[in-house]
Amino acid sequence: MNSNYQMAEDEVIIRRMLSTGNSEEEAFRIIIRTTQKQLYGIIRRITGDHMLTDDIMQDVYIKVFENIRSFKWKSSLSTWICRIGINEALRVTAREKKHRHSELTPDVRVGQQDMDYDRWIKHFRNAIARLPPQQRAVFIVRYYEDMSYKEMSAIMGLSEGGLKSNYHHAVKKIKNYLDKKGLK
């Protein structure tokens, strides 16, 4: 993923391209290339499913392209895209859960390291999948993307206090779950 400085530079280029009206497609390609990996990581960990993530990613970018002319550029473009992505992922997972009448299955790939680590990963992701949607999203963004509460607040539209509370509750629930499984 790009550094903040690189992202800001990209946004200047994108704005210039959009204002001329001739390089719209190229601007959209840059938007996708600079944001897709982070967006994919967040959405995939929320949904736990590649196909679902792919659908959401495509819808998010189409929404972004259709509404970019009304984007005020008050926040960074990547923040805006991330926000749309998280909201869409939460909406889709809620719908999927309703249809399946069951919890989402965690996305686990094992066999890369030792058995204890594999077992820990499996239950750790299981615990994340069992969190309420908002706590799950907050935990994923903080834990996997290592974002500050300030950045998260801009993306998720929650106060820093609310985010901290969500995160701590999530960590507590995960720890309790792992304790019950006999994992430390």
């Binding site: 390291q113 701590h168 960590v171």
Partner: protein, 132 residues
């Protein structure tokens, strides 16, 4: 207490990479751009259809406004005699009921109206032509 949990978690990293199909990001980019292009072309086509529709509507409106004073039926109706009026209504609505006709032309006796409906031949040919 919360700090302890955070510290506990710091030592427990889930570093396992996500299982992403090879070339996925390139394919996703191509697919999104393709979808966006198709939507853009559809919306352009829709815009074109809407523009034509508005242009046609504007022309029709202009024609109506332009021809309006010559064809306003209310102007004609106001100048008609009861006989002409009855003829006009019968021509406009051949199935008109006797009662409805009488409501519109109440100064004519009802049996006369009934006769007019039955015969339809209530006016001189010249007057009928003028009304048409």
């Amino acid at each position: 207490m919360n700090d302890n949990w955070e510290k506990w978690l710091e030592n427990k990293r889930d570093d396992e990479a996500l299982d992403i199909p090879e070339g996925y990001f390139r394919e996703m980019e191509a697919s999104v751009i393709d979808r966006w292009k198709r939507r853009k072309s559809l919306s352009k086509r829709f815009e074109r259809v809407m523009t034509i529709t508005w242009q046609v509507a504007a022309v029709v409106l202009l024609l109506l406004v332009w021809r309006g004073p010559n064809t306003q039926p209310t102007d004609i109706i106001q100048e008609m005699s009861s006989e002409e009026l009855a003829y006009y209504y019968i021509q406009m609505e051949p199935e008109i009921s006797l009662y409805d006709l009488w409501m519109d032309v109440s100064d004519v006796p009802i049996d006369t109206l009934e006769h007019w409906i039955l015969t339809e031949n209530i006016l001189d040919e010249d007057i009928a032509k003028e009304i048409h």
